[in-house]
Structure formats: structure tokens, C-alpha cells
Symmetry: C2
Subunit: 340 residues, 2 copies
DNA sequence: CTACCTTGTGGTATCGATAACACAGCGTGT
DNA sequence: ACACGCTGTGTTATCGATACCACAAGGTAG
């Protein structure tokens, strides 16, 4: 049997005895079609299993109905929720969503952005790798493709933005540790060229300063944002002459690795080291409500980011850029301990 | 400044003083272009920021370089890994991947499949909602779109398939419970129209039969495959006159809910109820290695499924369908207890 | 009865790329 | 010197849809 993959509007036209323009009108629910004709055309469509090509339509209409979502790590439970939210809003708004995982690699990010330009996506929701993504983003702007930054800002890029309150959240977490009596509090973070890391560091420093605690540079260690980085970072801290009594990690995955390092040193969280971090791990917390976290509304970052994007694409957005800072939720569990 | 979004091959041709065919040849690395011409064209491309449209190219070439991945729940850590694997292989093979989340809803599945047909994706990797997806899949086949089933088979659909060993894995899990002395072992599962549920049930029954244990229908309860379903299912079991002493759940999310139900009844896993399930939860297990699971190679399902698909699209696959059953890894942790 | 509008439909150009073919210019073997 | 082949380039048709304009048939106003 013939594959209907190559059934075109002309085939439908021939079978139903009208021109392709009329078929097009039926497909697009345009007014000017007599009920009788419409019926005949619809029947032909059903018979032939015709599906209009979005390629051809996109080419002539100059819009594809496709968006892209670019994140650094889909397997991070935080971004997984972002993905779900974004995908859902896109579908409801009548758009398809292409997912790209950059693996936090600037080169891959550049490549996927080029790909998305070639695909003529109408807009992009992106959690950029770092400030160094600026070049790619400027290229997007020059190309005339709308985009919304989520989770991370990039200095010099004036697009719509949806982020969590990193500075405020970090401050609350660290103040919590201080209130429990800690005065040597470390921070395991990633490079300062990622806005969330920068902002969380600012919150960390602000909390220390407000409490009159000194800022000890040896307590701020830099790591990759995955369990391995957390492991290495925590190991480094534990080997200091005067190790910290509490640690704040820049995100959930780093915290997991950090805990593993603590255990590897035959110590325990929170008894020997108190721990707090950004971002919850939904399913882990259900099983074992252990980590004291600043839980960001991940799914909302995805949904809201996509909504702002769609509004802008459809010209329903104000000219002014919109910067949304979503509050995070402070969830106290065991890992921060009961104090010293 | 003009947005280069509408820079076409003709603009490049004009600027570099050649015909668009020559530009096309440069873009496609075809041989027959003099070094000098090539240089001029490349410079014009750079100057104008030209990016060839995949729409136009796809239309004329009759291929889009796009695949689709359709899963029932991207937020399930199992499928998250599938997504990562699939996305990665697709990118390396030079394809883009559109992600669709059906939320285990047959209607949404039908819609997204139609969308993907309209997009003229070259192939689809799909974890179908259930056996009732058969109609959609037949439509795909008739349309001439290649697809590979992952995680779940569908009776009557003879495509390439990559699944985990559900029957074998289930049997091992239940035998483990039996070896620990349990003889009232329950199974919380989903509808029998999902192949994994069916196969795991077969494994469950086989293990009981092999041990000479009776099959008590009241110990097999049906639930939705999420924590809520697990909670409800376990609650139902705990309220039996003679509750089970051990429970096998059809997947990880169901297990989480089941545990919550046990706790809600002021009982404990594994002391009061032993628990085993399919599918690990990577980050949860790192934090708290608690669940005894049959860990499927989720990322491999994604990578291998996509590889098979690409091979088939590119005509490098044998005519014969390929059915790959990947072994799962049995990981004993605490939730199954030390026996009675 | 004529001018004009509305309705339903068709014809043709077009979106941006490539396939298929054509062809000019030059080198080469005999 | 001629047929032939190769190199580099251009011309035209085409992919599948829609925009835009044209137009016939019938209704309505004056």
C-alpha cells in the first residue's frame, strides 16, 4: 500500500474535485466555503489520510509554530520540572517544543542555537550556560528571534527574564545556619560567571556580614555542579586545618555529592557538618525528607518563561522587558541539624 | 538594524556575485566550486549572518532531520534518563529531537502524533501509553514514518523494540521476597494493557508458582502509576483482614507513594512491610540507598532506541524487526528487609 | 434594468532551498 | 585538428502550501 506520507493538498483537491485553494480554505477553517464542498473535501482528507505539511506552511507563512527549550542538564530534577512546565504551556498555546540539552557546554550551546535558527523556531526559552552565553544570545537578537532567559540572567542581555530569588534565598539559608550557632560556614559553588552562583554568593556574604561574621576565602570552594563536584568540594573543606561546621551548596546535586564526601570521611550530616542547599529533589524528599533546602518553583519557571515568550511572539507583550523574580520556599528538614 | 532572519540564499548570491546554486554548493560542501568563489561566498555568508532554512531544504529534499521522542511522563526519573540518552544520540547523529510528554493520556498521544506527522519528522521513538496506542502506531506505519517502541511493546505492532526484561526482573524481585520468608506478597500495578505491567505480573505469578505459593487475587491491586496511586494501593492492602507482609510495586513512583501509606498507617518499611519495585531513582538512591529495586538501564533505552531508529531511517537496518531486551540490575537495599 | 455587492471558487506567484540539466572554457589523447 | 571529458557555473522546475487577485453567479437597491 502506498504511504500517505506524500499525499499533498493537490491529491485531496483532485479527489474532491476542487482546487487546492479550496482545500486550503477547508483546512484553515476559512469562511468562504459552501457546506457541501466542505463536506466533500473533508471526506477526501479522511480517505487519503492527508496531513498538511508544516514545512510548506511555515515557508509561506514565515512562521513555524515551533519553540525551543535549551537547558544545561535535563536529568537534573530541577530542570526536569522546568521542561515539563514549558512543554505543557507550549502545547496548550499551539506550539511544538524542541528540547536541547547543552550539558553545560558552551560549544554545544552555540551549536544547538545555530540549529534552532536553521529550524526557524519562533522563540527560545533558555537557561544559558553562563555569562559567556552572551555572544549566542546577541546573535539570536540580531537574527530577530525572541527569547526568554530562565533561571539565569546574563549581564548585558535585556530580554524577558524569569528567575528564582537566589540572593534572598541564599541569605535565608545561611542565616538559618547562623541562627543554629554556626560561625564557620562554607559555600560550595560554581564559577562566578553563572548568575545564580553569583547571586547566591552575594546572599551568603550578606548573611555573614549582617551577623558580623568574617568572610574566610578558604571556605568558598568552586566545583562543577554535579555530585562529583560536590564530593570534591566537600572533601577539600574537610581536609582544612579548621574545617567548617556547616556548608551551603549552590544546588541540590552538589549537596548529594557533598553528603557522600562527609560519609566517606566517616562523619555525618548534620551531626558533624550541617548542610543546606538550593533546589529540592522532589522524589528524593518524598522518600526521605532530609535536605534543608530553598525550593525554587521549577515548574513555574518553565511555564511562566514559556508564557512570556509566547506573549512576546504574538505581540501581546509590552515593549518594556519583564523581569520576574519568583520567591523560593524555605524548607527546613534534618540536614541543617538542631544547632551546636 | 535589519534582522537577518529573512536573509536568504539569494541575498548571499547577490552580495557575492554568483548564482544561488553556487551558494547552495558552498553550503553543502559540494566539490565543484573554485576556491576563490568559495571564499567570496563564505565571506558573504558571514557578513550577512545567513543561516540556511531547514524548512525550505526539508521541503525540497523531503527530509527534515527531525525526530520525535514521545514519553508518558518526562518528570519520572526513569524517563528523564531516557530523554537524555535519546537527545544525545540524536544530536550526534545530526538530528534534532522534539520532545512530547503525553502525561499517559491517550488523547494527548493521538494529538502529538498528528503534530509530528505534520512536522514530517523522519522517525519517532515512543514509549506508548498502552496497548490502546495501537491505532496511532498503525497510522504512523501507514504514513510511512519509522518508529521504535521503547520500554513498552504493543501487541500487533511489529516495529523495532527496546525494552527491559520486565518478566525476568519481576521474578527475581519476588523470589527475593520469597527467599526472605514472605508468603503473602502483594503486587501494586497498573492496567494490564501496558506491556510492562503485564510482563511484571507474569514474573510475579511465575515466582509464586515456582515456590508453590497460592495466587491471592486480593493481593493484586491496580493503581495509577504515580505516588498517589501507590499510596491508595498500599492503603487498600493495609486494610485487608490479612494484609501482605511484602509488596512489589510496578515502578519507583508507585513505591514512593506506597511507603508514604505505610508511614501514614504508623508502620514501617521494611519492618512491618517489605518493599521492592522496578526502576531506581538515581538521586534519591544516592542520598538514601533504601529501595531494593530492579534498575533498568534507562539511558540505554533512550540511546539504543534512537540508534535503531536512525539506522532504519538511513536504510542501514536489516529488514527483519529487531527486538532488544535489556537485562535489569538487581540492587538489594534496605526496603526488602532481612527476612521475617 | 443597471450598477454594485456578496459568495464561492479558481489561477498564478511565491516562500527558500535543491535537483536536474545545460553549457562555456579548457586540457588531452590520437 | 577534432572528439571527448572535466571543471565550474547558471537556468529552470520543483517541493507543498498560502497570499493575492480575478471572476462568475446570484441577490439587492434605486
Amino acid at each position: 500500500m502506498a504511504t500517505p506520507g506524500n499525499v499533498t493538498i493537490k491529491d485531496v483537491a483532485r479527489v474532491s474535485g476542487v482546487s487546492s485553494m479550496t482545500v486550503s480554505r477547508v483546512i484553515n477553517d476559512s469562511e468562504r466555503v459552501s457546506p457541501d464542498t466542505r463536506r466533500r473535501v473533508e471526506q477526501a482528507i479522511a480517505e487519503l489520510g492527508y496531513v498538511p505539511s508544516r514545512l510548506a506552511r511555515g515557508l509561506i507563512r514565515q512562521k513555524t509554530g515551533t519553540l525551543a527549550l535549551i537547558v544545561p542538564d535535563v536529568a537534573n530534577p530541577f530542570f526536569t520540572l522546568v521542561v515539563r512546565g514549558a512543554e505543557d504551556v507550549a502545547r496548550r498555546a499551539g506550539y511544538r517544543m524542541i528540547l536541547c540539552d547543552t550539558r553545560a557546554d558552551l560549544t554545544i550551546e552555540r551549536e544547538v542555537i545555530e540549529e534552532m535558527l536553521a529550524h526557524r523556531v519562533e522563540g527560545i526559552v533558555i537557561a544559558p550556560v553562563s555569562d559567556r552565553s552572551k555572544g549566542h544570545l546577541e546573535r539570536l537578537a540580531r537574527f530577530g528571534v525572541q527569547f526568554v532567559l530562565i533561571d539565569r540572567t546574563v549581564p548585558g542581555i535585556e530580554s524577558d527574564v524569569v528567575v528564582g530569588d537566589s540572593a534572598g534565598g541564599a541569605r535565608v539559608l545561611v542565616e538559618h545556619l547562623i541562627s543554629l550557632g554556626h560561625d564557620r560556614i562554607a559555600f560550595i559553588t560554581e564559577g562566578n560567571d553563572v548568575s545564580t552562583a553569583r547571586d547566591r554568593r552575594a546572599g551568603y556574604e550578606a548573611a555573614l556580614a549582617a551577623a558580623g561574621l568574617p568572610l574566610d576565602p578558604s571556605l568558598v570552594v568552586r566545583a562543577t555542579v554535579d555530585p562529583r563536584g560536590g564530593f570534591d568540594g566537600m572533601s577539600q573543606l574537610l581536609e582544612l586545618d579548621e574545617p567548617p561546621t556547616a556548608v551551603f551548596t549552590v544546588n541540590n546535586l552538589v549537596a548529594l555529592g557533598a553528603i557522600e564526601a562527609v560519609r566517606a570521611h566517616e562523619l555525618e550530616v548534620p551531626d558533624d557538618i550541617a548542610l543546606v542547599c538550593f533546589d529540592d529533589i522532589e522524589y528524593a524528599s518524598r522518600l526521605y525528607p532530609f535536605l534543608t533546602v530553598m525550593a525554587q518553583p521549577a515548574e513555574t519557571l518553565g511555564t511562566l518563561g514559556t508564557q512570556l515568550l509566547v506573549e512576546r511572539i504574538e505581540g501581546r507583550a509590552p515593549e518594556q522587558r519583564r523581569v520576574v523574580v519568583l520567591p523560593a520556599q524555605f524548607v527546613v528538614r534534618k540536614s541543617s541539624g538542631d544547632g551546636r
